[in-house]
């Protein structure tokens, strides 16, 4: 960060949300990294993102305090200071609902610069149309006719993934654990389930209409009907906007994992991490898996990643991301406080931060 409290254009910035605060990792070349603490220290930061639309450089953070409440914060000076919205995410007293945690915050489409979305527990989608100052609930989802039948996953009844289709302003998807993928084709007025052929091994009916424990999903940047999904029970790809899904686990050693990311310059290149039932690396080698053919086959990427009898690393659903550079950078934050980075599409890895609190999320950006 320079004396003006900003980062030079081209800087790679990784926002790291942890069990105890938000950290900023920055690099001019993705070789040397600087680790900075922020004014958001001490609290549980599930997620943070940088909105760079229309010249903005606003960081939003999901600040889920241990004791005194859950707040969406924002900062215009790279979290040297932070502000609260004029009307934050809060249910009406009459609703009987209470905000538990904020799980994700996503800037809207490029052509809706004031729009920001947030997903929370209890599962609901919140929208701001003024850059995060005022928030309101999406009533189409909140009043879904099946709402009373939704059940939580281990982390709660959380809406953790939001994809607003940049090619279609009426279409968006959300992921809710343990409900599944839902899609709106009318600008959020109504929502349908999009879970066909994804398993729920923990249910009596293994292929229900809803009740799947979706962990994370992403959209192909140039084929908007193509989605990739990590699930409690498998890794999947959809070619038709979630109408149905294809199992692409193949030779991966586990069907369980949380994060998923892709290379925007080679979108058939997808990265996943899978885990054993203890939620650690499957064997003694911590591994990122990569497909370069849209899920036809997978390769283990291990060069620079730790191995040994004591290596037991876990990565949460927002704990892996990619940047937009070419070759693509990939970033992984672990529940033991390490951040690993690759600047060559996962071929080789370096430890760029250590001894952080347990990492909940990483999000990478190139300063414009």
């Amino acid at each position: 960060m320079n004396a003006h409290g900003t980062y030079p254009k081209g800087t790679t910035l990784v926002l790291v949300g942890t069990k105890r605060g938000l950290f900023l990792l920055s690099s001019p070349d993705r070789k040397t990294w600087e680790v900075n603490n922020t004014a958001l220290r001490g609290n549980r930061i599930f997620f943070a993102t940088l909105d760079q639309r229309q010249g903005s450089q606003r960081i939003f953070a999901a600040d889920n305090g241990d004791f005194f409440g859950t707040f969406l914060r924002y900062s215009d000076d790279f979290v040297q200071t932070w502000q609260d919205p004029e009307q934050g995410i809060q249910f009406s007293p009459e609703s009987g609902e209470k905000l538990i945690n904020i799980w994700t915050i996503e800037p809207g489409r490029p052509d809706e610069p004031g729009t920001v979305y947030a997903g929370i527990d209890p599962a609901s989608l919140w929208v701001s149309t003024d850059g995060g100052q005022h928030w309101s609930i999406n009533t189409g989802l909140a009043n879904h006719p099946t709402r009373s039948q939704w059940n939580p996953g281990a982390g709660g009844l959380c809406l953790h993934t939001i994809v607003a289709d940049p090619s279609n302003s009426d279409r968006m998807w959300v992921g809710i654990s343990a409900v599944g993928c839902m899609r709106s084709d009318d600008g959020g007025q109504s929502w349908v389930f999009a879970n066909k052929n994804t398993r729920a091994d923990f249910q009596p009916d293994k292929y229900p209409e809803f009740g799947q424990c979706i962990h994370r999903f992403i959209q192909h940047p140039s084929q908007p009907d193509v989605l990739y999904q990590q699930n409690h029970c498998g890794i999947y790809k959809s070619l038709n906007a979630g109408d149905d899904w294809i199992d692409i686990q193949h030779e991966l050693p586990s069907d369980f994992g949380f994060p998923i990311a892709l290379d925007v310059h080679n979108p058939d290149t997808v990265f996943v991490i899978v885990e054993n039932e203890s939620r650690n690396n499957v064997n003694d080698q911590f591994t990122v898996y990569r497909t370069s053919n849209g899920g036809e086959s997978w390769r283990s990427m291990t060069e620079g990643l730790p191995s040994g009898h004591g290596v037991r690393l876990g990565v949460l659903r927002h704990g892996m991301c990619s940047d937009t550079l070419d070759p693509c950078g990939v970033y992984v934050g672990t529940n033991t406080g390490q951040v690993f980075a690759s600047r060559d599409r996962g071929e080789t890895w370096n430890l760029i931060a250590d001894f952080l609190p347990s990492v909940y999320s990483v999000q990478a950006f190139v300063i414009e």
């Binding site: 005194f68 409440g69 905000l99 982390g155 939620r279």
Partner: protein, 123 residues
């Protein structure tokens, strides 16, 4: 002069001293304690919210329920063992607001009930 005087309505209400933990002091102008008024704990929280907008959400959920790791003591007694938020307050009461000491399972020596502990599972 007729001997009467105009009273601030708050002067006739129960006066309460409220001590706040460090984490909440920024919401009340960086003060360690504030004076408020109200016949019950709930009324004091309402009065504090009026004076320091946003403070209530730090203490209570939208439903009005006290957050699980927020502890309020009236003159050294946890309001959990009184009447909760409806606990009546004597004049010149002293309220202490404290966060829980979380981090492990614990059986309360007073009532034998297990206290809340912080959940670590987020996935």
């Amino acid at each position: 002069m007729d001997g009467s005087k105009s009273l601030d309505p708050r002067e006739s209400a129960t006066r309460v001293q409220v001590h706040l933990p460090y984490a909440l002091r920024a919401t009340v102008g960086n003060q360690a304690s504030v004076t408020s008024h109200g016949p019950t704990v709930r009324a004091v929280i309402d009065a504090l919210e009026h004076e320091y907008p946003g403070l209530r959400f730090h203490l209570c959920y939208e439903t009005g329920e006290l957050r699980p790791f927020v502890n309020i003591f009236l003159n050294r007694v946890h309001i959990r063992y009184l009447e909760g938020l409806d606990t009546p307050l004597p004049h010149d009461a002293v309220l202490h607001i404290l966060p829980s000491v979380a981090g492990g399972s614990h059986t309360n020596p007073i009532d034998g009930n297990s206290t809340h502990v912080q959940q670590e599972v987020i996935s």
